[in-house]
């Protein structure tokens, strides 16, 4: 089986998922003693190609088109390289940018597409494991086709390491500029403000379980009592209850505090991506099956509206009425 995987970079640096794709691709290629091709499009392609020459990588294709990601360019480039390499399986990152071109590539090449894979196997038939209903169930889908496209969830495979002496090949994708109808005009850091949650030693983090905006005061009081910093999962920021600079997760901040207290947070994969590096994780959540408990070191499976006031009182504080 020949596997083609597409690396990802942003603002001059390869993203971790590029090396994870190399591992996933090698595992899949090994199943049939096949070749693994990687490709990198745009930016410092030669430098990137040197770094992508990791164990298990047979060929790295460089496509020197533009500095940054542009989905019109990527879609054309990947489709053209696909026609050249003729892989059995095309792997792309299930990142924001991956989801901005992978479906178009699959559509253009009439490839069946399975997104957000957490496991991939092949015994002649490709089997892809993915989650459904917010991680409550896992599903396995089989792809009864000779060729397929799969996007791979970041963080699920270890990054490929070492070097392999891969062949590095330039590829001219012959991009038709007249079909490029979107233009990236810049980047913007979000958040800002006077608090940097990524610097905090102790984070008290609040999620959807808090139910109402006025109830945030309860968690805020706990943070004050512990002299900790208040952070949150995405829905709290989406609702405008806390500013964006407090958001922990894939699209927010990555945090590594000594202690992370997750209150009313279920532990969606996007949130976990931002806080799994915490040294000690404490979860307070009524659902014992919530994914946050897969990560937590300590848990209180109970109603936060009973536990948090009691905790504030245990330290001599006075919880607010909510």
């Amino acid at each position: 089986m020949t596997v083609l995987a597409i690396a990802e970079h942003r603002r001059g640096d390869l993203r971790d998922v590029s090396f994870e794709l190399a591992t996933a691709g090698r595992e899949l290629a090994d199943a049939t003693d096949g070749d693994l091709h990687l490709a990198v499009i745009g930016g410092a392609v030669e430098e990137f190609a040197d770094r992508l020459d990791r164990e298990g990588v047979d060929v790295v294709h460089t496509i020197d088109e533009g500095e940054e990601f542009n989905h019109d360019v990527y879609t054309q480039a990947v489709a053209a390289l696909y026609d050249e390499v003729e892989p059995d399986t095309l792997l792309m990152p299930n990142s924001v940018n991956g989801l901005d071109y992978a479906p178009a590539v699959a559509n253009r090449l009439s490839l069946p597409l399975v997104t957000d894979a957490i496991d991939i196997e092949s015994d002649g038939v490709l089997s892809v494991t993915r989650e459904k209903y917010g991680s409550k169930v896992e599903t396995v889908v089989e792809v009864d086709a000779n060729r397929a496209a799969v996007t791979v969830r970041p963080g699920e495979w270890p990054p490929a390491e070492g070097t392999n002496g891969a062949e590095i090949q330039e590829f001219d994708a012959e991009i038709d500029e007249s079909t490029v109808h979107s233009t990236v005009t810049g980047f913007q850091e979000v958040g800002g403000g006077d608090v940097d949650i990524s610097e905090a030693d102790v984070l008290v983090s609040v999620g959807r379980g808090i139910e109402e905006e006025e109830n945030i005061a309860l968690v805020e009081a706990l943070a004050d009592t512990l002299d900790a910093t208040l952070s949150s999962s995405r829905p709290i920021v989406d609702n405008g209850w806390l500013p964006k600079n407090r958001q922990v997760g894939q699209s927010g901040k990555v945090v590594t505090p000594d202690v992370y207290i997750a209150i009313g947070i279920s532990g969606a994969v996007q949130h976990v991506a931002g806080m799994k590096g915490a040294e000690t994780i404490v979860a307070i959540n009524t659902d014992p099956n919530a994914p946050i408990y897969d990560l937590a070191d300590y848990g209180v499976v109970d109603d936060l509206f009973d536990v948090v006031p009691a905790l504030i009182e245990a330290f001599g504080g006075e919880p607010p009425e909510v």
Binding site: R11, F69, H71, T75, S95, V96, L99, D100, P103, A104, P112, V114, T115, D116, S127, E131, K132, Y133, K136, V137, T139, V140, V141, V143, D144, A148, H181, S182, T183, V184, G186, F187, E189, V190, G191, R234, D238, K244, Q250, S251, G252, V254, D258, V259, T286, N289, D294, A296, D297, Y298, G299, V300, V301, D302, D306, V307, A310, L311, A314, F315
Partner: protein, 264 residues
């Protein structure tokens, strides 16, 4: 200007549930408007409020049951709705990306919108691919994971922010016609007013089958087959504090003292 919004009804699973074959047993499922689509509806209705002669149409692939969800959009300001369903789609469970994109493309070609809005993903299947696949199918430009939209009705170009990972947004200009997949947090979805709910009752929900939109049952053919569905094994090795809330809080307080979070 015409805006087409793809609206999905999604199933949410209760905390405790049972699996029946290759699906969660139906009694443990609640159906609701897809969270991401709620933000897409709001984005469309806000554009309608800015410009004159902006028509907002929703399209849903779903059985009759989904009309309740469709009416939520109508109550929030969507002008009319299209609902596509067919016997051939019954029992398909999870429709593949290609099937959904083909159906939506057929409706889009019929409606000829200037802008298509969808949610980034549905919160049940979470494929996150329909919008971009649709865009490529109908030859529209697109942008995925949009969390800021600057567009006046009549403009040829939409200026959007795409929410990347790590607190970074990409600023992109997208030529219309385009498909934008809308991220939560882009706006504040309105609640349906009582007046809106009353008005929604008289708005049109046009039911269409596959033949009505020029397709046949072959659109459901997919090489992707669901073969397993199961609860993931818990990997938890957490120490769980037990007792009354006060007792649990005391144990947690001891832990936080041990960890040096609080002195004394």
């Amino acid at each position: 200007m015409k805006i087409l919004i793809a609206v999905t009804e999604v199933a949410e699973v209760e905390d405790d549930f049972e699996i029946d074959g290759l699906a969660v047993a139906d009694q443990y499922l609640d159906y609701d408007l897809n969270e991401w689509d709620d933000y897409a509806i709001e984005a469309g209705v806000q554009l309608q409020e800015v410009g004159e002669e902006v028509e907002v149409v929703s399209v849903t692939v779903g059985p009759e049951r989904s009309e309740e969800t469709i009416r939520m959009g109508l109550a929030k300001g969507v002008d009319r709705a299209i609902r596509v369903w067919d016997d051939a789609l019954e029992g398909e469970g999870q429709l593949g990306v290609e099937t959904k994109a083909d159906i939506l493309a057929a409706v889009a070609e019929d409606e000829d919108p200037d802008l298509v809005l969808t949610g980034v993903q549905s919160n049940d299947d979470a494929f996150g691919a329909t919008g971009v696949s649709l865009a490529d199918e109908i030859g529209f430009e697109w942008a995925a994971v949009v969390n800021d939209l600057d567009l006046e009705p009549g403009d040829d170009v939409a200026s959007v922010h795409r929410e990347l990972e790590g607190g970074v947004e990409e600023l992109t200009d997208v030529e219309l016609p385009a498909v934008l997949t809308i991220q939560t947090g882009i706006n504040e979805p309105r609640y349906a007013s009582l007046r809106g709910i009353r008005q929604a009752q008289s708005k049109e929900i046009a039911p269409k089958d596959l033949a009505d939109i020029g397709l046949d049952a072959s659109v459901t053919e997919s090489p992707i087959t669901l073969t397993q569905l199961y609860e993931p094994e818990t990997e938890s090795d957490a120490t769980v504090f037990e007792g009354s809330p006060d007792e649990e809080a005391d144990q947690l307080a001891d832990l936080l003292r041990d960890k040096g979070v609080v002195e004394g």
